[in-house]
């Protein structure tokens, strides 16, 4: 919303030394956010009133004249001008050198300079209205070549144009969002009242209604939807016609962000921008049957619009009708029937109140927001109609002294009641954290137009009526008003009291953080974030069953409707994308996945889809074994490093995305908590992953069991030295390292896999395994004989259980 400081000054005397910047700052800190400050005179600098004292044809150009122009600055100046409506004695708009003008076809402002035109000197420029933002003020008939003619305007030679048209103003642009809760601030008077509270000033009273409405003929107003229209006032005015508003009004509207249209419409807009009460003027001859009916539309009823389109209405839309049909969408927009036209000779002025909820539904239904509806949707009080009436009557009398007030109707169904709020002093002291003197409290509240009394430690605050539609309803609201006018910045930060009741111990959070840090810092993975809506292409690539998937009603794109059930598709997509720049990398993500289910996190009444916190990663490598075993290594090391219960690696149920052979489940207490494996070939083809292999893991973090604390146990260092022996054996392909290790676990102090080998020297169907064992005796250092005996035992097991033969070096 735009706020004109000149306009505000009609309602409040601001100190002369108070800068617009300071006002903007104080409003921002205490009331509403000021986005921008505009000095409206800036674009009219060096543009003044001049008078053509003498003129003759340019010797070298048919369409140009040489004008000797008095600009009130010493000798008259010679200016070349091509205006079609030039004459001697005409008062014109003159741009001096340095002024900036807008020339059709140029995208930037052009600076005026002293120049020569066809050999003749020209000091500056005599302007057309469109060149200097004056179309709304001094319109001309010849749009092509007409210049501003100020001869009939009350002005003097040398007068700055900005002053002449009331553009010596400063406009504050207020962020509309910060005004949503303040219906009282949608007019200049409300802003003035706020400034009065901030600077401890007085606002001037608004005009009283200078019309004895009771003496007028009754205008019938019927309200059939009283819950949506608590009040409707109609005033019929005759002997008015379409004409231009006076300059001051145009400037006010212009600086308030609206274009002047004609005096009738301008009055309604001016009143709205002054006191926040929307008004609407109907051509009275269009109101058939001389009657206003306010009702909800019939389902399918049509409203004819100005452009001859129809709006098809629902029975939830409120319409203003005459005796025959709908003329306007209440509080939002008019139809063709209500328009003010050049032939209009009388108007019916609507000053009404519409309640917010239904109006908002209609706004949303048609995507229609207007200056009026924006105000109604905030909740306007019913008494404001009176302010609108008083100001409108005053303006009509001023602009149309000959006008005639014909008829009046005021159907007042329900009056807005002022909210009464009890605020204990103690409550204020406690919540503000300091004691504010009673005089200060009362003074601030009175400036905000509360009525305040104090008795037995309790303030009884009667809220201003224009904030009683919801903004102010409880003591916290009064507290808020006090705190902001005192300024939040005036409260010193108060340290919080510390209580040591219990240690914050959250193993689940620690585990999640531990897992992330383990993967990033120990295993060299990069953490990624992906969106929860997943491109179907990648869901299909991973062959995830979508039967139980949750979908979005209005997805970001049609192919992104599915909310993720698994992080694997997103991970595959990330792999595919990154392959453009990297050929080996490791990524992981931890996030929630969803599936149809029953889940009650807070109350029985609320039932959400099933949630799972998943951890998924991918290792991209040139080599399949490397990819798989890197994933496996990460999964193995996770248990100890992240302090959780260990899982076994087993093949129980193949994940949909995994290679037919290379996959394992992570099994904890008999339950599958995760899987690892290579990404299947079909998935890679579908995702466009080429020339690399991808190892994948996915773990359900919710199923992991974090330990309450570390559970490692110290092991004594061996008293006697261990003997280290490397063994290289030849076994059948079917023999598993895991079985060999298991079979030797009681024979050795430790055992470590070194290498698996197949090659020329190894017969088909066989493989060579190399590993290292540590043997020792707790009673003493082993001698050669003991070592041989122990190794003999080991070799015997290898031969017997695994049909292994020792390889000769």
């Amino acid at each position: 919303m735009k706020v004109s400081l000149n306009w505000l000054k009609k309602y409040i005397d601001l100190p002369v030394d108070l800068t617009p910047e300071q006002i903007a700052y104080d409003l921002t800190m205490r009331t509403v956010e000021v986005d921008n400050i505009e000095y409206t005179a800036a674009k009219y600098h060096d543009i003044i009133v001049g008078k053509v004292v003498n003129m003759w044809k340019h010797p070298n150009a048919d369409t140009l004249n040489i004008c000797i122009t008095d600009i009130g600055d010493g000798e008259p100046k010679q200016i070349i001008c091509g205006g079609s409506n030039l004459y001697e004695g005409e008062k014109v708009v003159v741009c001096k050198p340095g002024a900036e003008v807008y020339w059709h076809g140029e995208d930037k402002m052009v600076e005026i300079k002293e120049t020569k035109m066809r050999g003749q000197y020209s000091y500056g420029m005599i302007c057309a209205p469109s060149e200097v933002f004056l179309e709304d003020f001094f319109p001309v008939e010849d749009k092509e070549r007409g210049i501003c003619d100020l001869s009939d305007v009350d002005c003097y030679v040398g007068q700055p144009i900005a002053e002449l048209i009331g553009m010596d103003d400063v406009v504050l642009e207020i962020e509309n969002k910060s005004l949503t809760n303040r219906p009282d601030m949608w007019g200049h008077y409300g802003i003035a009242r706020e400034l009065a509270a901030i600077y401890d000033l007085e606002v001037k009273p608004l005009p009283e209604c200078d019309l004895d409405v009771k003496s007028l003929k009754e205008y019938p107003v019927e309200i059939l939807s009283p819950d949506r229209c608590p009040r409707y006032m109609a005033l019929e005015i005759g002997n008015v016609y379409v004409k231009d508003s006076p300059t001051w009004m145009k400037a006010a509207l212009y600086n308030g962000g609206m274009r002047p249209i004609n005096a009738i419409v301008d009055i309604t807009n001016y009143v709205m921008m002054a006191v926040g009460q929307p008004e609407h003027a109907f051509d009275r001859t269009h109101v058939e049957g001389e009657k206003i009916v306010v009702r909800t539309a019939k389902q399918g009823e049509k409203l004819l619009l100005l452009n001859d389109d129809f709006l098809e209405l629902t029975d939830d839309d409120l319409v203003i009708c005459d005796a025959v049909d709908a003329m306007a969408l209440a509080g939002i927009r008019g139809g063709k029937k209500d328009s003010i036209l050049p032939e209009t000779t009388g108007v019916l002025l609507e000053i009404a109140n519409f309640t917010a909820p239904g109006l908002r539904r209609t706004e949303n239904r048609y995507g229609e927001k207007t200056d009026a509806s924006m105000r109604y949707e905030k909740g306007v009080d019913t008494e404001r109609v009176n302010l609108g009436l008083a100001m409108s009557v005053q303006l009509f009398k001023e602009f149309y002294p000959e006008c005639e007030f014909v008829a009046y109707g005021d159907n007042y169904v329900e009056k807005t009641e002022r909210a009464v709020i009890k605020v204990p002093q103690q409550f204020l002291d406690d919540r503000l954290g300091k004691v504010i003197p009673r005089e200060t409290i009362e003074q601030i509240l009175r400036k905000l137009e509360y009525d305040v009394t104090f008795e037995d430690g309790v303030y009884t605050c009667v809220a201003p009526i224009d904030r009683s539609t919801g903004d102010v309803s409880m003591k916290d609201d009064v507290l808020g008003d006090l705190a902001r006018i005192l300024s939040y910045d005036s409260f010193e930060p108060t340290p919080m009291k510390m209580r040591f009741e219990h240690a914050v111990n959250q193993p689940d959070w620690n585990l999640q953080r531990g897992l992330r840090e383990y993967l990033a810092f120990r295993c060299g993975f990069n953490e990624i974030f992906t969106y929860p809506w997943i491109d179907e292409k990648f869901i299909n690539a991973a062959e995830i069953d979508k039967t139980d998937a949750v979908k979005l009603a209005t997805p970001p794109a049609p192919e992104l409707a599915y909310v993720r059930q698994s992080l694997v598709p997103g991970c595959i997509e990330a792999v595919a994308k990154n392959l453009r720049y990297f050929d080996t990398f490791k990524i992981f993500e931890m996030a929630q996945c969803f599936e149809v289910g029953e889940y009650h996190p807070s109350t029985q009444a609320e039932c959400l889809p099933a949630h799972r916190m998943m951890l998924t990663g991918a290792v991209v490598s040139k080599d399949a074994r490397d990819a798989f075993f890197t994933v496996k290594g990460a999964a193995e090391g996770m248990v100890r490093t992240c302090q959780m219960e260990g899982y076994e690696f087993k093949q129980v149920q193949k994940p949909s995305w995994a290679d037919s052979k290379v996959w394992l489940n992570l099994v904890l207490n008999g339950e599958i908590v995760g899987s690892i494996g290579l990404l299947k070939v079909s998935a890679m083809n579908a995702a466009g992953i080429k020339r690399v292999q991808v190892g994948v893991f996915e773990i359900n973090v919710d199923m992991l069991k974090p330990l309450p604390s570390r559970d490692n146990v110290f092991q004594h260092l061996p008293l006697y030295p261990l003997v280290e022996q490397d063994l290289s054996v030849l076994v059948d392909e079917s023999v598993k390292w895991g079985d060999i290790k298991e079979s030797l676990k009681y024979m050795v102090k430790d055992i470590e896999f070194i290498e698996e080998y197949r090659g020329k020297q190894i017969p088909a169907g066989k493989k060579s395994l190399m590993f290292r064992v540590w043997i020792g005796d707790d009673k003493g250092t082993m001698n050669a004989k003991q070592i041989d005996k122990k190794m003999g035992g080991i070799i015997k097991i290898l031969q017997k259980q695994h049909r292994a033969s020792l390889r000769e070096e």
Binding site: T28, M29, R30, T31, E33, N181, R182, A356, R361, R431, L432, G433, M474, D476, L479, G480, A483, R484, Y488, D489, P493, T494, P495, M496, R499, F500, Q506, W509, A520, C523, F525, N526, E527, I528, F529, T530, Y531, P532, V550, K551, L552, A553, T554, P555, P556, A561, K577, N578, F585, Q592, F594, Y599, P601, S602, A605, E606, C607, L608, P609, H611
Partner: protein
């Protein structure tokens, strides 16, 4: 003869000086003082000299032998001190052997930093799920029934629930604040906790707007908190993020779930508060909303607003991370682009 000895001495010392190889030095020692060395030969020939001469030559020869021994010892120390295990030239500008490094997402890092700060002040960390009902996302938080944020233009409703109401209308949560009521219903008051997480808005994306982004919210509920204590929480967050005290200001703001509500601005870190393009020449940047919990929200959590009060602060992590590193496009956070993510080690 003595003159010969002087020559031996001079030549010997020269040789000792010239080498910087320990092995060569050993050869020189053998050559100079060994059994076949020149000096030994001189000593062997002493018998052929007259006694007077024999004595002075002998003394001189032994003296030289000692000088050689001393000097060689010194050279050994000198050479060892300057020795290298690498014989050939080594290009020290070659890169070091790469350590395999991964990284946490920059938003995770920021979140962990903040968690550390709040844990140290006795806050708990709470996690609300990503999907919520309208009841918890809006109704409990005092949003009017026809608030624009409830529309599908703003919030991602789940298919099949979009036309229902309250508990039955489900969405990807549009903010974290619903989690406050969940926590309070579960654990009651007094409470102090933070709840970080990802939130979702149906928006058109550009360099400054995202559909999925991170927030970090902190809440205190107690009997005796004044809203001015909220400033401590705010200053903690910013000091933790930027590593130094940051000037802030607190001004009027409006949110359905607070009364009063406020906006917190921090001094623009680009211009130091003087005003620049980044801060729209105001010197301040809006970083977080906050406010005193609205009584209706406390009622939703089964708490009596006459007894309990408290305040929120909510901070957009994406924006804060952007300021921390100078990131200029918010969409990079969800790009999974390693060229971006690898920068935040």
């Amino acid at each position: 003869m003595l003159k010969r000895l002087e020559e031996i001495l001079q030549n010997g010392l020269d040789k000792i000086e010239q080498t910087d190889d320990l092995n060569v030095l050993q050869d020189i020692r053998r050559e100079l003082t060994g059994k076949k060395g020149e000096l030994t030969e001189v000593l062997k020939s002493l018998g052929t000299l007259d006694p007077e001469m024999r004595k002075s030559v002998g003394m001189k020869a032994n003296e030289i032998k000692q000088i050689f021994a001393d000097r060689i010892k010194e050279r050994e120390v000198e050479i060892a001190a300057n020795a290298s295990v690498i014989d050939e030239e080594l290009d020290l500008t070659l890169p070091g052997k790469a350590i395999e490094e991964g990284a946490l997402h920059p938003i995770t890092q920021m979140c962990d930093d903040l968690n550390d700060a709040f844990l140290s002040m006795g806050f708990e960390i709470f996690n609300e799920d990503d999907i919520s009902s309208e009841q918890f996302a809006f109704d409990n938080l005092n949003f009017p029934p026809d608030h624009p944020a409830r529309q599908s233009m703003d919030t991602y409703w789940l298919e099949g629930t979009e036309d229902k109401r309250g508990n039955d209308r489900l969405c990807l949560r549009p903010h974290l604040t619903g989690g406050s009521v969940r926590y309070l219903l579960k654990y009651g008051a007094p409470a102090r906790f933070v709840y970080p997480g990802r939130v979702y808005r149906n928006e058109t994306t550009d360099a400054r707007h995202e559909r999925a982004f991170y927030q970090y919210e902190a809440l205190i509920v107690d009997r005796d908190v004044t809203f001015a204590s909220g400033k401590v929480m705010i200053n903690t967050i910013l000091e933790k993020v930027f590593g130094r005290k940051i000037r802030t200001r607190m001004r009027e703001g409006f949110f359905p779930f607070t009364e009063p509500g406020y906006e917190i601005d921090m001094e623009c870190q680009v211009c130091g508060g003087k005003g620049c393009r980044v801060c729209g020449h105001s010197g301040w940047i809006e970083v977080m909303p906050g406010g005193v919990i609205h009584p209706n929200v406390l009622r939703s959590a089964n708490l009596d607003p006459e007894e309990w009060t408290g305040f929120y602060v909510n901070i957009g992590l994406d924006r804060l991370v952007m300021m921390r590193y100078g990131v200029d496009d918010v969409r990079l956070f969800h790009s999974a682009d390693l060229r971006f993510l690898k920068q935040f080690k």
